[in-house]
Amino acid sequence: MIVGQDDVVESVLCALFTGGHVLLEGVPGLGKTMLVRTLGEAVNLQFQRIQFTPDLMPADIVGTNIIHEDEHGRRAFQFRPGPVFTNLLLADEINRATPKTQSALLEAMQEAHVTVGGQQHALPRPFLVLATQNPLEMEGTYPLPEAQLDRFFFKVKVRYPSAGELHTILDRTTSAAAPRVEKVLGDAAEVIALREVVRQVPLVREVQEHAVRLVLATHPEDPGAAPSAKKFVRYGASPRGAQALILAGKIFALLDGRCHVAKADIAKAATAALRHRVILNFEGEAEGKTSDDVIGEILRLHPA
């Protein structure tokens, strides 16, 4: 269903089986919605999409209490859940919503429940949020603050399809034959069980040290920091980044058919797990440096 974008699919699956959330950055029309829908169909999970707009209210996301009158004429507040109550949520253009609305979603992402009217409502499990940001239209938007970005497991850049991929897309989507999605998993319980299996994948101390070295290398004040990190980075990755590295490494190891994590798995997850957690300083932004450049140098200095 998804042509190309293997790294995006893999990242999304990593996030699904580790309990994380993904921030997708790409121009519109690259199949982000199709991805989430396909994933939901494949793993037999519910799917919802929210198009964030500046006038979107938190209640539009989490739900609200409404007055309901029963057949006896009695009136009571009844909680009407919002679209967040789903397994897979596509939060399209999350940066267009106000910070208040963003925080409502981010709270749900972090806590796995929402509080409406003083009452907590647990979100279904598994719960995966795929938020998107349009890198082109940044005017009039509310970019997510760094603290909010840190809650995402991965930040994946959805690239434009190549010519061959575009041909395939056209062939598949403009013809009479519509591709069908095969269900891989039965229900949500299997996803949760797989999550448990992922956490059991062992890793040796050397591999964990490698992950720690990578994270510490993003901090400019660290003795083992990369030269570009010392020069262009203001804030390095948080411990959530190391967690993301380890969990993603386990996923990648399993995807590679291994039951142990290797340094190569850590290195493979480094860019997606750390790029939104490394905050550049003014000099880095002025020189056009990106966090990907810094992470790339770190990976070269600490090869697997």
Binding site: V197, C259, H260, A264
Partner: protein, 519 residues
């Protein structure tokens, strides 16, 4: 992999030590501190290699890696996804985690399928290039040594051929001298013969080494020459001979001091005293000197007696007549007496004995002669002997008084008419045609030229160097203004003294105005 790493490490260390040792050897060779023979050069190369190999093995054994390091090395080299490290870790754990077991099983299957030989590539260590430079250096030095040896051999052959004749001649001469010399005597000849043999051997040895045999030959011949020269010199006296000589010298008074020096070993002092004694032998003693003086004085007295008698005779004859001849004879007598008189006045006593003539005697004689002269010239006997300060009182040396002490301007007695240094004489006043004055009488025959020695007195002296301005581009030594001012007075005086006509005076005045320097 581990084995390959070990051997590579050992080879690396070996090559490093070999390279260092070879560099040191090459440096020592280059600096000239170490010059191995050509045949020893393989050993020179072999020992650093052996030492380096041993050092390398020892170092590699010391640094032998552990199992964990081996696993890390294999994972890094083989891209095994950390399987071996994981397997090593999981195998040590006592836990029964299912996934760990699965991991170990997967790794085992991987290890069974994996070809580890690919992890042991056989390749030369990069450090092998380190030895290229020292090997090249040693090769060059080896080639240089071979060339030097060949050159030395060629040179030795050439030099040996060059001096072969000379050495053969020296040997022949030595053998001939040995045959000629009596074994019991003629040690000098034997010594020369031995030296000749040594010289020939030395020359051959020098040629065989490749040195400059010609120079060696010249050197040996010079040494032989020195030897012969030494042998020709009289031998120094032996101590016994010196003792005997000292004993002989002790017997004579004049050489006794010299003998004492000789006995004490001061040969130089003895030689000096002997020389002094020889000099004293040639000098006359005081008695001899007195004897000779007496003889001289006696001779003089005898001569004086003769002269007195002759003078008396002349006086008698002068009284009787023939004064001219008499005067001549007196003059001759006086000539004869003058050296004696000089000696009597200031020098050593004359030889021949007798008392020296005194000044009074001579003055009396002069008085007598003066009388005679006056008589010849028409005057009476003036008689008196000249006193000091008067003409003729200067002794017989000032016999002819050339100095006219009369008043200036007087003609009397100035037979030569020499300038007096004072103006007013007839020649100087222009009263004669000849600017040198009136011709005087010729100098008398008795006059004789005598060079009077002069000496610088103790009084002040003043000298002035008057540089002459040469014609041409040289500048005058004095400024013209200064010269004019210095000479103007003299010129004015000279003009004023002359009786010039008025017209000439005007011209002269204009002339001086013209040459007056500009202000």
């Amino acid at each position: 992999m581990v084995v390959g790493d070990f051997f590579r490490s050992a080879a690396r260390a070996t090559l490093f030590f070999f390279a260092m040792l070879v560099l040191l050897t090459a440096a020592a060779w280059w600096l000239g501190e170490f010059r191995p023979n050509v045949n020893d050069i393989p050993f020179v190369l072999a020992w650093p290699l052996a030492a380096g190999a041993v050092a390398g093995l020892v170092l590699a054994l010391v640094r032998f890696p552990g199992l964990r390091r081996v696993a890390v090395t294999i994972d890094r080299a083989g891209a095994t996804r950390d399987r071996f490290v994981t397997a090593l870790t999981f195998s040590k754990r006592a836990g029964d985690a299912e996934l760990e077991s699965l991991a170990l099983a997967e790794i085992a299957g991987y290890a069974r399928k994996c070809d580890l030989r690919s992890f042991l590539p056989i390749r030369a260590p990069r450090e092998l290039f380190w030895v290229a430079i020292p090997i090249a250096t040693l090769s060059l030095l080896w080639w240089d040594a071979l060339e030097t040896a060949a050159s030395r051999d060629r040179r030795a052959t050439e030099e040996t051929a060059a001096i072969a004749d000379t050495a053969a001649q020296l040997d022949l001469l030595a053998s001939q001298l040995s045959k000629t010399a009596n074994p019991d005597g003629e040690k000098q000849l034997q010594r020369i013969a031995e030296r000749l043999k040594q010289s020939a051997e030395q020359m051959r040895a020098e040629a065989a080494k490749g040195g400059d045999a010609q120079k060696a030959a010249l050197r040996e011949l010079a040494l032989l020459e020195d030897l012969v020269r030494q042998l020709r010199q009289p031998e120094a006296a032996t101590p016994e001979e010196l003792k005997a000589l000292a004993a002989a010298l002790m017997k004579h008074e004049p050489t006794r001091e010299a003998a004492k020096d000789m006995q004490s070993g001061n040969l130089a002092g003895a030689a000096k005293k002997l020389a002094d004694a020889a000099a004293q032998e040639n000098q006359p003693s005081a008695e001899e000197i007195g004897r000779e003086l007496k003889q001289a004085i006696d001779h003089l007295a005898e001569r004086k007696e003769q002269m007195s008698k002759q003078i008396e005779k002349l006086q008698r004859e002068a009284a009787e007549g023939g004064k001219g001849e008499i005067l001549k004879q007196i003059a001759d007598v006086l000539k004869e007496l003058q050296p004696q008189s000089k000696t009597a006045k200031g020098g050593a006593p004359p030889k021949g004995g007798g008392k020296p003539m005194t000044d009074d005697d001579l003055k009396k004689l002069l008085g007598a002669l003066q009388d005679l002269k006056n008589q010849q010239q028409g005057g009476g006997p003036g008689g008196a002997e000249p006193q000091d300060g008067e003409p003729g009182s200067d002794g017989p040396i000032a016999m002819l008084d050339f100095h006219q002490r009369g008043n200036p301007g007087s003609d009397s007695g100035d037979s030569l008419n020499t300038p007096t240094g004072q103006p007013g004489r007839d020649g100087e006043q222009g009263t004669t045609v000849d600017p040198f004055g009136k011709q005087g009488d010729a100098a008398p025959d008795a006059a004789r030229k005598e060079q009077l020695p002069g000496h610088l007195g103790d009084g002040e002296s003043l000298s002035a160097l008057i540089p002459s301005a040469a014609a041409g581009d040289e500048k005058a030594a004095r400024r013209y203004k200064e010269l004019y001012e210095a000479a103007a007075g003299y010129a004015a005086d000279a003009v004023a003294q002359e009786e010039l006509p008025l017209g000439a005076r005007f011209l002269i005045k204009r002339y001086f105005e013209a040459i007056r320097p500009k202000q």
